[in-house]
């Protein structure tokens, strides 16, 4: 028979170990790794000392401590998802610009252009 303390510790350690394993395997890029190390540390701490929330909730005047954990968890998840979409938009812009540049590099001139084009260096100076 497990006590809730043991269960909480087991979950905390398991999550923290998985994250540390992924970071060590270089599966997470720098800034993300920092966020997730923070998550691992928090999860491990709360796993060992689940009563921390009870204490914090009392300090904040919350009568039902578990709701604090849920609200904080949701808030952080929302924040994380928001930053993920910001990052995805940044990458989308980057990918589009890269695809465009690739297309420009792969441009093939027609068989018979109407007029020979001046070399690029000359064009630049005209601008």
């Amino acid at each position: 028979m497990f006590t809730y303390q043991l269960t909480s510790m087991a979950i905390g350690i398991a999550v923290a170990l998985i994250i540390l394993f992924l970071v060590r395997r270089d599966r997470l890029h720098g800034p993300y790794a920092i966020w997730w190390i923070g998550v691992a540390a928090t999860v491990a701490l709360l796993g060992f000392f689940p009563r921390l929330f009870d204490w914090l909730a009392t300090q904040l005047g919350i009568s039902y401590p578990p709701i604090l954990a849920i609200v904080l968890g949701f808030g952080l998840l929302l924040l994380k998802i928001l930053t993920m979409d910001l990052e995805r938009s940044r990458q989308e812009r980057l990918i589009r610009r890269l695809a465009q540049r690739l297309a420009m590099l792969e441009a093939q001139d027609p068989l018979a252009p109407s007029e020979p084009r001046a070399p690029q260096a000359t064009d630049r100076t005209e601008q």
Binding site: R93, A99, Q100, L102, A103, E106, A107, A112, Q120, Q127
Partner: protein
């Protein structure tokens, strides 16, 4: 470069234009693209660039055989992504003016001259080939809605038949314009924010030879488009003050 205009009335203006390029975004337009490229080449003798947006048919071969340069996109970017590729390419190659046409044969290459006139006279930075009569009732409703949201005073907001001068090309080749999906309201808003002037030029338009509108094809796509564009307009509220008459 544009030395054979069909309309004699625009000959004097034409001589002041040099380094104009025609940009045609194409996605599976093998049936029509060749004819358009040939027409532009013979009428205007300007370089034609077809931006291939991941076509699966032989659009590329046909365009190239007709005399166009082809920019092959490795991933599908949509009509605006393709046009921006063309604009960036045109700037790199030193062109001063760019004309965009649809590859489906809607736009008449002989109208390019009329489109270039306001740019040459310095009347505008962007000329939009407008043919509002083509629009269905639903599309007109959508246009008036976007006019209301943005305060833009243009009839044919979604026309892909446009001419851009060098300043407008530079503005639209920017990173800011890379996350747009359509060559319509978002593009016009960027132009307005930069203080550039757009005018509409009445042109004739052919019914699409093949296929329907890319945007107005199903209620789901229309809904998504309307929502996305409305959000785009609202997100720019206050950032696009209409230029006062003193600015013009």
């Amino acid at each position: 470069m544009l030395d054979t205009p069909t309309d004699p009335s625009i000959i004097p203006a034409m001589s002041s234009v040099d380094r104009t390029i025609a940009l045609i975004p194409a996605h599976n337009e093998a049936a029509t693209v060749g004819n358009i490229v040939t027409q532009i080449c013979s009428l205007w003798r300007c370089p034609v660039v077809v931006i291939d947006d991941c076509s699966t048919d032989n659009t590329v071969q046909i365009a190239r055989a007709a005399g166009a340069s082809v920019l092959p996109l490795a991933i599908q970017l949509g009509a605006w992504g393709a046009i921006q590729t063309g604009l960036r390419y045109a700037l790199r190659q030193g062109f001063r003016t760019a004309v965009t046409l649809d590859a489906d044969g809607q736009h008449e290459p002989q109208d390019i001259g009329a489109l270039l006139c306001p740019l040459m006279t310095g009347e505008a930075d962007v000329a939009i080939g407008a043919f509002p009569e083509r629009a269905s009732r639903a599309r007109r409703l959508a246009w008036s809605y976007f006019r209301f949201l943005t305060g833009l005073e243009l009839e044919d907001i979604t026309s892909g038949f446009r001419a851009y001068n060098h300043t407008a090309m530079t503005a639209l080749a920017s990173r800011e314009a890379s996350l747009l999906d359509y060559q319509d309201v978002g593009v016009l808003l960027i132009l307005r924010r930069r203080g550039l002037r757009s005018v509409e030029v009445p042109v004739s338009m052919q019914p699409r030879a093949i296929g329907g509108s890319k945007i107005f094809r199903s209620w789901w796509v229309v809904g998504k488009y309307m929502l996305q564009t409305s959000l785009l307009c609202l997100a720019r509220v206050g950032r696009n003050p209409a230029p006062s008459s003193a600015d013009d």
